[in-house]
């Protein structure tokens, strides 16, 4: 799985170029986003909420031991993000060796900053200690400034003259705020730990009771769909993040491809109907298909995740039709953003004539319906072999999607002639799985 994801990211990078947008504001935004988005996760890591490490508080260990573990975990997570960036630089032939040390500096600084922000966030909410919060903010502002500057260097293709100085400042500031973090942890950990546990484990309900989501589903299928969406929203597997990230990259590639004018013209444009083969239209449709496949690739992983729990469906007398319908609807719902985003991306480039905007949206929606339905219908083909199922479903989705992207009437014919057969097979496979899978 990891290999497949990495390969796809690197393959996508081949066509990608560093955008000519101002890197500094993007870097600043990314750093602020990283800091704010990781508050709750970083707090969970410091206080070991929901982790076997929570028992270490009862062992005769130094109070810093838990903090050091949290720092290492945070650094490992940040390293993954930056490793992808380095991989893309390498793939594009942009200098990598020169940014290795600044990258490490960025990882250390951002990780410690995230933990410092998190521990203060918990303390502020618990004790309303405004003075401590202000002091932390004073320490974090330079950290944000330095880490944004280093991140700008990572986004740039050429070496800035301040790179060595920034790196040195980054390491020094990382050490300084680590000392502050250590001191905060020693003073506040015992007092804040129970509050953190209550705060981070409460308010977990995700409201997914919209009747629109369960439209034309019975109670059993509706309950399964709600469960599937809740598990996805809570990131039941890292594959959820990977699928989202890849879909984002694919749609970003669509934007860059259209703008670069590199997308080939497959057929000669002679009339209005030929606008379907306009490079921008084709790029939008390819973006839609690949993003749909990426998003629906969560489905076989979800089925694999649910296998040990299927005793519940078996004991409750759930029908094959119910579990099939739930998965089919899930596949369609999870992929629904793809056609709209792919279409919007094509429209904002200004390379799709306004007269073809609505038909293009129709084509994207047809592609979404086809790809997600075919992938959804294959949910129970080989549920026990997740990797193979992922490959088979993705290839089917891509094949049917690309074929329809070239010639949309083919999609209508496929949907009309094979759609019902495929759906019926999916239902029978689900039924067979329920009946025979237990032994």
């Amino acid at each position: 799985m990891t290999y497949l994801i990495s390969t796809r990211i690197i393959e996508n990078a081949r066509e990608w170029e560093f955008p000519s947008i101002p890197a500094a504001p993007v870097a600043f935004g990314a750093v602020v986003l990283l800091l704010s988005a990781s508050l709750s996760r970083a707090a969970s890591e410091i206080f070991a909420i929901g982790h076997p490490r929570a028992h270490f508080d009862a062992l005769p260990l130094s109070i810093d031991a838990q903090l050091r573990a949290a720092v290492l975990i945070r650094i490992a997570r940040s390293l993954i993000v930056t490793a992808v960036l380095l991989l893309i630089r390498w793939r594009l032939g942009v200098e990598v060796a020169g940014v290795l040390i600044p990258t490490l500096c960025f990882v250390a600084l951002i990780s410690i900053s995230e933990l410092l922000a998190a521990i203060n966030w918990i303390h502020l909410k618990h004790k309303r200690d405004g003075l401590a919060a202000l002091s932390t903010l004073a320490a974090l502002i330079p950290a944000i400034a330095v880490s944004s500057s280093i991140f700008t260097e990572l986004l740039s293709t050429s070496a800035g003259r301040w790179r060595p100085a920034l790196t040195a400042a980054g390491f020094i500031w990382a050490l300084l705020i680590y000392a502050v973090l250590k001191s905060c942890n020693r003073r506040w950990r015992a007092g804040d730990i129970d509050y953190a546990r209550r705060l981070l484990t409460s308010r977990r309900r995700a409201s997914l009771s919209s009747p629109l989501l369960r439209w034309r589903l019975n109670a059993s299928a509706g309950a399964q769909l709600t469960r599937d969406l809740r598990l996805t929203l809570r990131g039941f597997s890292s594959a959820v993040y990977a699928a989202l990230g890849i879909a984002f990259l694919l749609l970003a590639s669509e934007f860059l491809l259209i703008n670069s004018g590199r997308f080939p013209l497959f057929f000669k444009i002679e009339g209005w109907l030929d606008l379907a083969w306009l490079p921008a239209s084709m790029a939008a449709k390819f973006g839609c298909v690949t993003a749909c496949v990426s998003l629906t690739s969560i489905l076989p992983i979800l089925v694999g995740h649910e296998l040990p729990h299927m005793w519940l469906e078996r004991a409750a007398g759930t029908t094959g039709l119910d579990i099939f319908q739930a998965k089919l609807r899930y596949a369609r719902l999870i992929a629904i953003p793809a056609p709209f985003i792919a279409w919007i991306v094509a429209i904002i480039t200004g390379q799709v004539p306004s007269s073809y905007a609505a038909p293009l949206l129709g084509e994207c929606l047809l592609l979404w319906l086809l790809v997600s339905s075919f992938i959804g219908a294959m949910s129970f083909e080989i549920p026990e072999r997740t990797g193979l199922a992922l490959l088979m479903m993705s290839l089917t989705g891509l094949a049917v999607g690309f074929l329809t992207a070239f010639m949309w009437p083919i999609g209508l014919v496929v949907l009309g002639m094979a759609g019902h057969t495929f759906t019926e097979r999916g239902r029978m496979r689900a039924r067979y799985f329920l009946l025979k899978g237990a032994d």
């Binding site: 309950a223 598990l231 040990p308 519940l312 469906e313 004991a315 329920l434 009946l435």
Partner: protein, 239 residues
Amino acid sequence: MTDTLLRVEGVIKRFGPLTAVDNVSLAVSAGEVFSLAGANGAGKSTLIRMITGISEPDSGSVFIKDEDLTHRLPSTKRHLGYLPEELVLYERLTGREYLELVAGLKEADPTEISNELAYFELAVVQNKLVGEYSLGMRKKLGLAAAMIGRAELLVLDEPLNGLDVEMMRRLRERIESERSAGRAFVISSHVMSFVERVSDRVGIMRSGKIVAEGAPADLRTLSKLSTAPFEDVFFYFVK
């Protein structure tokens, strides 16, 4: 018998050379508590999995309200509530969300969820993720899930594991009140005092067979151990 809820006829289950359940027959009527006792590996859980339709017998039949379970009709399974021994729960759902899923699968009245959460003292933690539950909380959640849907036959595999003394008493009271309402139970347990107190009949299993079956008092009479702990009665039959 018109009030027979469960009928097991000559059921056999083999795993390779091992015969886990060997030609077992039994019947449980409405308003009756039937307990299965036996050492680990005696075949209790395998028998229970076949009773609930999760696993299929190699030969023999299981009937729920005279409907053959091998047809796997949803309507047949709606008569069942089940608590497995190895309770695998969704760690990333909250307790309430898990019960919502169960209620949806059983097409049960959603108002039962709050009642069961309150009965099993889970209301306070209903919005916590199941992954953060203790063993006892998980067992209580499993019991609440089994009770949802007003099933006529409840199959509880080791329901006492992880429960505190107070909750054990509450569970016993619940079983007694449900029995009065005409619901039947098949319970597998190692806690012999509980088995003796709550059961109308006990089936003692050894090597996949029921070697003794009857009311606890009758088993005492047969074993001539009228005052000894029920544990000794159990050992009398399995030795």
